[in-house]
């Protein structure tokens, strides 16, 4: 076999029904880049429509891409693609986790793992370079994710990385995760592993990823990237005024400043001002604990953690000794919604409980995260807490729970903000105890089961984006029509930050609009915050670009919570980033020359294939009506204090209108060459993307738009 660069070249295939382990070639899928793109191709080719998430015929694919393992900044993520249990039609979907699993897999010589079938008894998969075995997991089954990882390492050695499910995944709770390391979880697919009786995957890699280009060129490009990278979510402005900075924004994640510490390090480590010219402070820029949990979290911060090869450390790792009171280890880590999602169950907030005083909120967060991370419960991007609140407020639990079960739930703790409620809550959810535990089935399922109707879907506080049962995730509230469009296409929360890593940079609007003009053709692609204008083609271009970059990043695999590098902190560059960096790294790593435009086209191919799978699974080409349709709270005008409607597209309201969003969808469909009426891929667009076979298949099923 010729030398392969960037890619490892091999896909591991495991059939748990037969126990067969085989090898496939990565490069036969190279038109789909890697990770999510290649996974979509495999799902299209090999999983028939009508298959359900927990069927043996469903496949679950752990994917990395050609940049993973090379050392490109922020390239440690694993993409996981499978049918999604929470989707009402079990639509194909991807979840992602950071950590160190993906690079270890690459170094073991594998780009992806495709798991199919169903084991008769619990198993775990052991990968030591080219040696792969299916092992007995009877003693792991029933354990939490932390112990499971330790057991894997006890077999394989301390160097091994593991991805595992907890009790929630074992019990096929729809809202469950696959998790690796201290705090990296992929939400939604834990139950799929559980259905296959696959408890964990352990991997140990002693090989390497070869880089095609000259090593000096590679190091130069890495150096350049490091010179424009910002803080978490590519925020390029510090939180407080700094001598080196022209701008500041208190909402920025570049929290570093003099006098701010990792307070529980021994001795404490000061972040300092983190002048961007100091390459040895890049990893100190984001003190995320104080951002996620408030200033009180500084003293609990041991360090910041994150993923392989990422200099931006966005996971805060805390020592919260109060946890020992609840029989938990004091060390707890996570980031962002990994904290606020589990905590969000406490919908009245966390008040002073058990004498924790002003640190009650931090202790409560730590309890929630510890439970969710060990049982492996997914919060559905914080939706589980909003669903709980809706059902509580509307008396749903009184209606649907047996009286004795209702009486057994410590509601008073929830109401008064005592976070020990979470211990009871996650026990019920993870072990599927009683009717109440169906809150873990996900929003679409509880709507059916508990008879929640239009009021539920259209509740503004509920934040459910479509009837697909997933919530808002960086939508119109921050990105006007661009964000709203992005939220319509996935079968789960969009998990797209391509737009936010630009919109949320915290640079002044004038600079951002200039950059928007350069990337998308007009400054009108971007509206000032909360001062939105009606739809235009440049916004559609922006949204299409964001969708393409997201699947591109999940295919390469680089982190879409940092990439793309649209902006920088560098005044001398006019705060410009470099949107061509993915292509430059790709070309150097693989030796396959790709321009920025060509890589975006490959991403559009992947995204269109994803769209085609959705059409085939739904059995209906009218995705505009059946899939992309937004719940009404998004397009309903707000009211002012006097009860008068605030017209959309006036300063101060973020509400959309139905007509404008219909136009926005039309324009977005046009950007991809799809049918403007239904939003489904046409024969012409499929052929344009080199997907003629897909067009044939859809035509046979009468699923091509007329």
């Amino acid at each position: 076999m010729a030398q392969i660069f960037g890619y490892s070249g091999k896909i591991l295939r495991v059939d748990l029904t037969t126990g067969k382990i085989s090898t496939d070639e990565t490069l036969k899928y190279k038109d789909f880049i890697g990770g999510e793109g290649m996974s979509m191709k495999i799902m299209w080719d090999e999983v028939d429509p009508g298959t359900k998430a927990y069927d043996a015929e469903n496949k679950i694919i752990f994917g990395t891409g050609p940049l993973c393992g090379t050392g490109v900044p922020c390239s440690g993520r694993t993409n996981i693609t499978s049918l999604l249990p929470t989707s009402p039609f079990n639509g194909v979907s991807s979840s992602h986790m950071g950590g160190y699993f993906a690079t270890e897999l690459k170094y073991a010589g594998w780009d992806m793992i495709v798991v199919e079938g169903k084991a008769a008894n619990p198993v775990w998969l052991r990968i030591e370079d080219e040696k792969v075995t299916i092992e007995d997991a009877r003693w792991m089954w029933g354990k939490g994710i932390f112990d499971t990882q330790a057991m894997v390492a006890s077999f394989m050695g301390k160097e091994a990385q593991a991805a595992a499910i907890g009790q929630a995944g074992e019990n096929m709770v729809n809202l469950s995760v696959i998790r690796t390391g201290a705090s990296h979880s992929a939400g939604g697919h834990g139950g799929v592993m559980g259905s296959k009786k696959l408890k964990a995957i352990g991997v140990r890699g002693t090989g390497s990823v070869k880089i095609a280009g000259d090593r000096k060129d590679w190091m130069e490009l890495d150096k350049f990237m490091m010179s424009i990278i910002g803080a978490n979510n590519q925020m390029v402005v510090p939180t407080t005024p700094q001598p080196w900075a022209e701008f500041s924004d208190k909402s920025s994640r570049w929290t570093a400043r003099k006098g701010l510490f990792w307070g529980a390090a021994n001795p404490p480590v000061e972040t300092g001002e983190c002048n961007p010219k100091d390459m040895q402070s890049v990893g100190l820029r984001t003190q995320k604990a104080i951002f996620d949990l408030g200033p009180g979290a500084e003293k609990y911060t041991v360090r910041m953690g994150g993923c392989s090869h990422c200099p931006i450390r966005c996971h805060s790792q805390l020592k919260v000794p109060q946890l020992e009171k609840y029989g938990m280890d004091p060390y707890v880590a996570n980031t962002c919604v990994g904290w606020s999602g589990p905590r969000g169950v406490m919908f009245n907030g966390i008040k002073d409980f058990d004498g924790h005083g002003e640190d009650s909120n931090i202790v409560g967060n730590a309890i929630g995260t510890t439970l969710a991370d060990d049982y492996g419960v997914w919060c559905n991007y914080a939706q589980i807490g909003r669903d709980l609140k809706y059902c509580w407020d509307k008396g749903v639990f009184k209606r649907v729970l047996p009286a004795d079960e209702y009486a057994s739930i410590p509601w008073e703790k929830l109401v008064k903000g005592d976070a020990t409620f979470l211990i009871d809550f996650y026990d019920r959810v993870a072990f599927k105890k009683g009717e109440f535990s169906h809150i873990g089935d996900g929003s679409a399922a509880i709507a059916l089961r508990w008879g929640l109707g239009d009021d539920y879907w259209n509740d503004k506080n509920g934040k459910l984006w479509t009837r697909g049962g997933y919530p808002v995730h960086h939508s119109n509230e921050a990105g006007a029509q661009v964000g709203a469009l992005i939220s319509c296409f996935s079968n789960r929360d969009a998990q797209n930050h391509s737009h936010m890593n630009f919109i949320g940079s915290k640079l002044p609007i004038k600079i951002q609009k200039e950059i928007a003009g350069e990337i998308f053709g007009s400054p009108d692609a971007l509206d000032p915050p909360n001062d939105y204008k009606p739809m235009n083609t440049f916004k559609a271009r922006f949204a299409a670009w964001a969708l393409k970059r997201s699947i591109l990043h999940n295919s390469l695999t680089v982190c879409n919570w940092m990439w793309p590098m649209s902006v920088s902190h560098d005044k001398e560059r006019g705060y410009r980033g470099d949107t061509g960096l993915e292509a430059k790294f790709f070309s150097l790593a693989t030796g396959i020359k790709m321009t920025e435009k060509e890589l975006d086209e490959a991403a559009a191919r992947c995204f269109t294939l994803f769209r085609a799978i959705t059409v085939r699974q739904m059995g209906d080409a009218d995705l505009r009506a059946g899939h992309d349709h937004m719940n009404k709270w998004i397009t309903k005008a707000d009211k002012d204090k006097e009860g008068k409607e605030i017209p959309q597209f006036t300063p101060g309201t973020i509400q959309m209108t139905e007509e404008d969003m219909a136009l926005a969808q039309t324009m977005l469909y046009r950007e991809f060459g799809w049918d403007e009426k239904t939003g489904a891929p046409t024969r012409a667009s499929l052929e344009m993307y080199g997907l003629a076979g897909v067009a044939e298949d859809l035509a046979r099923r009468k699923l091509l738009p007329s």
Binding site: P243, A245, K250, P508, P529, T650, G652
Partner: protein, 183 residues
């Protein structure tokens, strides 16, 4: 405020221009402005303004205060930060708050969290800040500065020349509540 290098000029003063430039740069590197009065006492025979002007050092900038001139080097300090320090040095909290709020409303645009002024580099005490906000409501300096309160009670100021009330309110609400709800 000035911890710059000592006069290296010697009796002739021939090296004074270089020493003055270095003093300004050292101040900026230590996150401080360099006052002309401090330079004058260190280099008593020198015409500071003339020497700085003639130094050819392209990184040096100045801000004129009421009675003082402040120098800084753009090698290690931005004008924006220097302006904050300038307001602090001039001991005019009213103007500091008003101009900062105006600039943020114009530039980003966004209303300004009042608590910003309690932190470095501003460093007002809570009572100074309260007095300043009170004065802004009454005095001419604050004619274009308005207040808005987010639903969590946080008070923000904004400049009415750049933000209409509805926008200022929604932005304050976004910063305080909405953004945390949409992390």
């Amino acid at each position: 405020m000035d911890e710059a290098t000592e006069n290296g000029g010697g009796p002739s003063g021939a090296l004074e221009p270089a020493a003055i430039v270095e003093a300004i740069r050292a101040s900026s590197a230590a996150a401080a402005l360099c006052c002309r009065s401090a330079l004058s006492s260190r280099f008593p025979r020198a015409d500071i303004a003339a020497l700085v002007g003639a130094s050819g050092a392209a990184d040096l900038r100045l801000i004129e205060g009421r009675t003082e001139t402040y120098y800084f080097s753009e090698l290690s300090m931005t004008r924006a930060y220097a302006v904050h320090l300038f307001h602090v040095a001039e001991k005019d909290p009213l103007r500091m708050v008003a101009e900062t709020v105006r600039e943020e409303s114009r530039l980003y645009p966004r209303p300004t969290d009042l608590r910003t002024f309690l932190d470095p580099p501003f460093g007002l005490t809570p009572s100074e800040l309260a007095a300043t906000v009170g004065a802004l409501e009454l005095q001419e300096e604050g004619r274009d500065i308005a207040q808005v309160r987010a639903s969590n009670g946080a008070l923000y100021l904004y400049c009415t020349s750049y933000l209409v009330p509805a926008l200022a309110l929604s932005l304050a609400e976004w910063i305080e509540v909405g953004q945390k709800d949409n992390p």
